[in-house]
């Protein structure tokens, strides 16, 4: 059994629980990017994290290996991250890392060492071959796992998904994993440890990348009300950084990479009743059909809203929502649930939803205007 170990408390406890349950655990830490070994306390890939994972493996009597996966990670995750911002969208690199780096590339390594099972420290559950939400709603990470191939689920164990974070920490202490028990939560994207994604874009695409160049902030009716220093610094639904001075609060409602315009409007303009997505992936068989009622999540930690699968064409899906959702941002994921069961998901691509296709309403996705 191969356990992907970041050096954090969740995957450490996952490995320890499996070892205690009698599994033949092999711990693997993936080195995903290199940022020098001097920055302390980075969530993963730092020397400290590798050392912590190794110490945990030593404690539980499992061999530990470091796999250098910088090249595939850069190819499948970092490059897409930068390109998506360049297209005026807001990507979730963790989804692609799970889909490609962890549950495709790492799985190949598992095959090579005859490890039939793989485990991670994600807060989600696999029951009867179906992905379920983590039991702790505050920690549920199923939103990031919709891109897995369905076959992977039969080989996947997620030992911490059935407990709360507090329980995980308690188990870490109980098992004597002091090196990780009280580690702080990692919130940032691992390769953007300081949260400054513009810096990463500048490094990768150059400081003169269009996504980082000056542009206009315009209202929905085309009035220029200010300037910005790079549309990549904005996300649909964002309020911070939008020029003030209006009577009502303004939010980013669209980003137009062609003209480098950031479109702002009132909160109502953010309400969307429909989501169009691509890269559709179903985690259940048979796949849900058009007309099926589902619950929909359009952002990490956003509440589930009832909806209906309106259209499926190839890898594109359109989902109607029963209640308006605010800030449906292109590049984020839409994940479809049936209660705790995760049915599948896709990458939001709101521009797919042309206003002409159906009668226009004021509550339609404003991003369409882009």
């Amino acid at each position: 059994m191969l356990v992907a170990m970041s050096g954090g408390v969740d995957s450490s406890v996952a490995a320890a629980l499996l070892a205690r349950a009698g599994y033949d655990v092999v711990g693997v830490t993936m080195k995903l990017y290199h940022d020098g070994d001097t920055t302390p306390d980075r969530p993963c890939c730092s020397l400290d994290s590798v050392n912590d994972a190794r110490r945990v493996c030593e404690a539980i009597g499992a061999p530990h290996y470091v796999l250098n996966m910088q090249q595939p990670f850069h190819r499948d995750v970092v490059r897409d991250f930068v390109a998506e911002y360049g297209r005026g969208r807001t990507p979730i690199p963790c989804v692609r890392c799970n889909t490609f780096t962890k549950f495709r590339d790492l799985l190949r390594t598992a095959d090579r060492i005859d490890a039939r099972l793989v485990a991670t420290g994600h807060y989600a559950r696999v029951t009867d071959g179906v992905l379920h939400t983590g039991l702790d709603p505050a920690k549920d990470q199923s939103y990031f796992l919709w891109g897995l191939r369905r076959e992977v689920l039969s080989r996947l164990l997620l030992p911490v998904g059935a407990q709360t974070k507090a329980e995980t920490r308690a188990v870490a202490r109980e098992l004597g994993l002091r090196m990780v028990a009280s580690k702080p939560e990692s919130q940032d994207i691992c390769f953007v440890p300081d949260g400054d994604h513009a810096r990463v874009i500048a490094e990768q695409a150059g400081a003169d990348a269009p996504a980082l160049a000056r542009g206009n902030v315009v209202t929905m009716d085309g009035r220029v009300i200010g300037e910005h220093d790079g549309f990549a610094r904005f996300t649909v639904g964002q309020r911070k950084g939008v020029p003030g001075g209006s009577r009502e609060a303004l939010f980013v409602v669209a980003i137009r990479p062609d003209t480098r315009e950031v479109v702002v409007g009132p909160r109502e303009a953010l309400a969307g009743l429909e989501v169009a997505a691509r890269e559709l992936n179903w985690l259940v068989a048979p796949a849900p059909a058009v007309g099926d009622r589902v619950q929909v999540r359009v952002r990490h930690r956003a509440p589930l809203v009832p909806g209906r699968i309106a259209q499926v064409t190839g890898d594109a899906v359109r989902v109607e929502l029963e209640a308006p959702q605010f800030a449906i941002a292109p590049g984020q994921s839409v994940v479809l649930y049936d209660g705790e069961r995760v049915l599948g998901g896709g990458v939001i691509d709101s521009r797919e939803t042309e206003p002409a296709r159906e009668p226009a309403t004021t509550r339609r996705l404003p991003v369409i205007a882009a």
Binding site: D37, V50, P63, L67, N68, R108, D111, R112, I113
Partner: protein
Amino acid sequence: MAGPFYFDHAATTPIRPEVGEAMAPFLGAAFGNPSSTHRWGREARAALDAARERLATCLGARADEVCFTSGGTEADNLAVIGTWRALRKGGRNAVVATTIEHKAVLAAVHQLAKEGGEERLLEVTPSGQVRAEHFDTVVRDDVAIVSVMWVNNEIGAVQDVPRLAGKAKARGVFFHTDAVQAFGKVAIDTARQPVDLLSLSGHKIGAPKGAGAMFIRRGTPIESLFHGGSQDRGRRPGTENVAFAVGLATAAECALREHDAECARLTALRDRLESAIRARVPDIVVHGVGGMRAPHILNVSAPGTDAESMLMALDLAGIAASGGSACQSGSVEPSHVLVALGVPAEIAGAAVRLSLGALTTDAAVARVAEVFPTLVAKARGFAAV
């Protein structure tokens, strides 16, 4: 038959029983400081003096030409940095090393470049031999020191050190050789071979980690890296590690005693392993062939595999090997040696070093010959997905 089998003798070797026995008194009652004038000191001094003489004999050197260090890295640093610093004032500012040196030499050379030295790197042929004509153009009379490793730790390539040292001497250039992998594998005799400095490491020949030595020919200018007392003629201040000096001398004597038989045995095993792998993996790439090779290192790449997964799978199958030089985080990085040989990146990334030694038996070779090709097939099968 299941092992585990140790094929990483180039990384380190088990301590010889004779070495442990020889050191034991100095880890116990004979704990004196060799610089003390009382009986405890005299006892330690006598053992240290004897160890120095015994090691000198093993090298064809005089006792005063042996300097004990903490290992190969310190010896390499002392040779390259110490000699350059002593000679730079005299107008010899350049320092030369091959592109396939151990990091202990390369990083020392880079350090000298930072201190104002001129760094010149010697090219090697695809089989890992120094290009003689390049040596002649690079090693001129503005060079303080040239460093050429006798046996390469990754591919086992053997350099013609006596000849290169002779050429350097003819230009007034001091010659250092990193003989960490060479001792016990090639004939070393400083009385006949004109090297000026030679590095040794204990744990490659059955002494403990942390034991090392350097041969420094009389008259070779050298500046100490450390500052302190006058131990080892001031070349290496600090209270001498008597136990390790005794251990190193004992290990060196053992290695020399078994030199001929062990080299023949390892060569036969290495050849058998190589041909067995070749038979089942016909497109296997063996690195460092075509020139002189040390008997204990077999470095191979199976195209379409990657070293990390192979090493992991080998380890889990009970076979300990290694890849390129390991970086800090324990992850395998492409080897600078294979890159210098002109090996394409994807082949270099598949390189697995199997190094033979005291623990290598017929059964161990048979096991690797069986497992390695199987793992290659498995890796290739899945790589196609």
